[in-house]
């Protein structure tokens, strides 16, 4: 019944996160988001959770000793959000969670802007830590995003790092 579950997740993701009790809240955002407000809404929506582990990725201010002027993430509509929802379902299938939040930006961002926020709520901390890390490792190396940085006025595409593939290999 995975299909029905995924549809339910999809439907829930249309609602404000405070209304979500069981399903994952998965969103692809085109505008800057307030990570503190999102995390606060997520934790209030899951009072049964004894712990929430979260990861925030933000645009770094420099790369290879050069100042980063902007970062852009491109996505591909038919693949990107459906794959994020599938990742959420796999994460929830692997650990017993009270809730799961996966937010990812696309579009152009400035240094310091949040790119990604993953939070897992569970009754005990170990599941929350592991689920958040699993989701984050897979977002990094398997999700349909392409990233480029603007340094000294020129855009350059960022290739995946070998470390990203090693990070994901340990989950298989």
């Amino acid at each position: 019944m995975r299909w029905c579950w995924a549809m339910a997740t999809n439907w829930r993701s249309c609602l404000p996160s405070a209304a979500v009790e069981m399903g994952a809240d998965v969103r692809l955002l085109t505008e800057a988001f307030d990570f503190a407000a999102e995390l606060s809404a997520f934790t209030s929506a899951h009072p049964a959770a004894g712990g929430v582990a979260s990861f925030l990725g933000q645009v770094r201010a420099s790369a290879h000793d050069s100042a980063v002027e902007a970062l852009e993430l491109r996505q591909y509509g038919p693949l990107t959000l459906p794959a994020m929802e599938d990742l959420a379902a796999r994460t929830q299938g692997r650990w017993t969670l009270e809730g799961l939040l996966i937010l990812h930006r696309s579009g152009e961002m400035q240094p310091g802007d949040p790119i990604v926020l993953v939070a897992a709520a569970s009754r005990h901390r170990r599941e929350a830590f592991a689920a958040a890390e699993f989701a984050m490792d897979h977002l990094k190396s398997e999700s349909w995003f392409w990233k480029r940085e603007k340094v000294a006025g020129a855009w350059r595409w960022i290739e995946p790092r070998a470390q990203d593939f090693e990070d994901i290999a340990r989950w298989s």
């Binding site: 591909y76 038919p78 990604v116 977002l139 349909w144």
Partner: protein, 80 residues
């Protein structure tokens, strides 16, 4: 009668545009033959994946294209 080609990531630079409309063709080989050879080579890179109408293609040699299909060329991803 046309196909839409979508180029993600660095392939957009190779193509000079994020999208390109080309004449209808029944195979991927035919599509590639009609492109600039340098771009065709980039699209056939070993780590480039292909999606047709939003579904990943496992065996691109067996692909039969139809009018209006959208072909997306996907280089290695870099999210987060």
């Amino acid at each position: 009668m046309a196909l839409k080609l979508v180029f993600l990531g660095r392939l957009e630079d190779a193509a000079g545009a994020p999208e390109l409309e080309v004449a209808a063709a029944s195979s991927l080989g035919q599509v590639l033959a009609g492109l600039d050879p340098e771009l065709a080579a980039a699209l056939q890179g070993p780590r480039v994946k292909l999606a047709v109408n939003g579904a990943l293609v496992q065996d691109s040699d067996a692909l039969v294209l139809g009018d209006g299909d959208e072909l997306a060329f996907l280089p290695p991803v870099s999210g987060g």
